[in-house]
């Protein structure tokens, strides 16, 4: 191995190791504002907590000041929270009419925060009856199945004691009970099915299975980075051997 080849190999290895280790960690840095998302946290009874995260570019100082002004104005914040809740209730009513299931929306909350030049609005609600829960099988479809446009990441968290059985369309990633759909995914006809892992008589949950990731993005672990690092290490070794 020449000095040049050694240097090349070292550079490749360093870059890959940094990517494998720092990549996932960097994605969770506290200083980074969250990305826009819609998250559905399912409970075993079919109820869900729904969280909508919206972000706003606050490039100008006056915009940041205005956002802070709104953030600290409880009257205005409460007014928007009430308006949003009225609209989400209307969506729940439409969904109930379509599915024939009883649904209610409660415990709404709108919070505003700012990270540097990004304003973040987080709206959460409790949506009773969002998914069907029958015979230890949870099924989530409406309202997302009928032309919901995913203009942000869409995440569905399966409850503890349940395992992800099937999803159509399939998510980009399904890890640790969280199904992740990329922004822009066509969710028309969405159906996500999860089954209880509880064992028969006493209902004690058995160990939850962790589905194999089916996508290439959105993973919270080091999976892709490590796989890529191993593959690249092999390639670098082969390349080095060829040059010897």
């Amino acid at each position: 191995m020449t000095v040049r080849q050694t240097l090349f190999t070292c550079v490749v290895l360093t870059a890959l190791l940094v990517g494998a280790v720092a990549g996932p960690a960097g994605a969770t840095q506290a200083a980074e504002p969250p990305q826009p998302s819609l998250t559905v946290d399912l409970a075993a009874d079919g109820d869900a907590q729904v969280t909508l995260v919206s972000t706003f570019d606050l490039a100008e100082e006056s915009e940041a000041a205005a956002f802070d002004e709104l953030r600290t104005n409880e009257t205005a914040r409460a007014a928007y929270e009430a308006r949003y809740t009225d609209r989400w209730r209307a969506v729940a009513d439409s969904t109930a009419n379509r599915t024939g299931r009883e649904m209610t929306v409660t415990n709404a909350s709108l919070s505003l925060s700012r990270t540097n030049a990004t304003g973040v609005a987080t709206y959460t609600i409790s949506w009773a009856g969002l998914a069907t829960a029958e015979d230890r099988v949870l099924t989530l479809d409406e309202p997302f199945a009928s032309n919901y446009t995913t203009d942000r990441q869409f995440r569905v968290r399966i409850p503890e004691g349940y395992t992800y059985e099937s999803a159509s369309p399939g998510p980009a990633n399904a890890t640790d009970g969280v199904l992740v759909y990329r922004s822009g995914t066509d969710l028309d006809g969405l159906s996500i099915v999860a089954t209880s892992t509880a064992s028969g008589v006493d209902g004690t949950p058995v160990q939850s299975e962790t589905p194999t990731p089916v996508g290439t993005t959105g993973g919270s672990g080091p999976g892709f980075g490590v796989v890529a690092a191993v593959g690249a290490l092999t390639a670098a070794a082969l390349l080095t051997r060829r040059h010897e």
Binding site: F56, T75, R83, S94, A145, T149, D151
Partner: protein, 242 residues
């Protein structure tokens, strides 16, 4: 300020529109005839998309409105205020142009069948809300301009006639059908500030001032008071058109 997510929506929209035909906005409002809603117009997923988009537009507009007020309040002379007005008018004009283009794309996509009726309605609801915000910002600049000397406005490139023309364009972005679609998706208040008293107070204060009246050359708080609540003590009630 711009929301980050709707940019994605715009890209999706452009990608889905097979043929894009520019249309004059006046013509668009005339073509808003008695189109019947398709069977999928009541789809809750599309409704949810519209509700989310309209809500973000409203928060975006609320911040833009307040940011404009802050800039006016910090402008310490008539000339400085006129410069803020000119900047805002230009920004709103670009916004109206973009909305007009988006509206044309929506109509084309609807006509050529590349967009489902339910998706069209959710996007139109958001566009209506954006149009309402744009019209409100035009009114805001008009209120400010009405309190500044004509020569100061002219020196800073503010054309009052052009502002009124822009107001007409912003209002023409929506028509009866658009408003009805927005109402069916997100309610009759789609695009309006969540605290209507705030806008009403500001408009009243501005309309009391004769056009061309010279305002004082000192910072003037622009954030109209949030009425009806004792918690809004950090808000002031002075209009910006001074």
């Amino acid at each position: 300020m711009r929301r980050t997510a709707p940019a994605v929506v715009a890209l999706l929209l452009v990608a889905s529109a097979v043929a894009v035909v520019p249309m004059a906005m006046a013509q668009q409002t005339e073509t808003e005839t008695n189109r019947t809603a398709g069977n999928d117009t009541a789809e809750p997923g599309a409704q949810l998309s519209g509700v989310i988009a309209v809500g973000e537009v409203e928060l975006d507009g609320e911040v833009e409105d307040r940011a404009y007020g802050i800039r006016i309040a910090e402008a310490n002379s008539s000339a400085a205020k006129a410069a803020v007005v000119a900047e805002q008018v230009n920004a709103t004009e670009r916004r109206v142009d973009a909305l007009a283009a988006e509206r044309a794309e929506l109509e084309a996509a609807r006509e050529n069948g590349s967009m489902r009726e339910a998706q069209y309605r959710s996007r139109v609801a958001a566009l209506h809300a954006e149009s309402v915000t744009a019209a409100r910002m035009v009114n805001r600049t008009n209120e400010t301009a009405s309190g500044l000397p004509a020569e100061t406005l002219e020196a800073n490139g503010v054309d009052v006639t052009a502002i009124r023309s822009l107001s007409d364009r912003a209002q023409n972005l929506t028509g009866p059908e658009t408003a009805e679609i927005a109402r069916s998706v997100a309610g009759s208040d789609a695009g309006q500030p969540a605290l209507p008293d705030r806008a009403a107070n500001r408009t009243d204060a501005g309309s009391d001032r004769p056009a061309g009246e010279t305002g004082p050359d000192r910072p003037t708080p622009d954030r109209s008071g949030e009425t009806g609540s004792a918690t809004a003590t950090n808000e002031t009630t002075s209009p910006d058109a001074q």
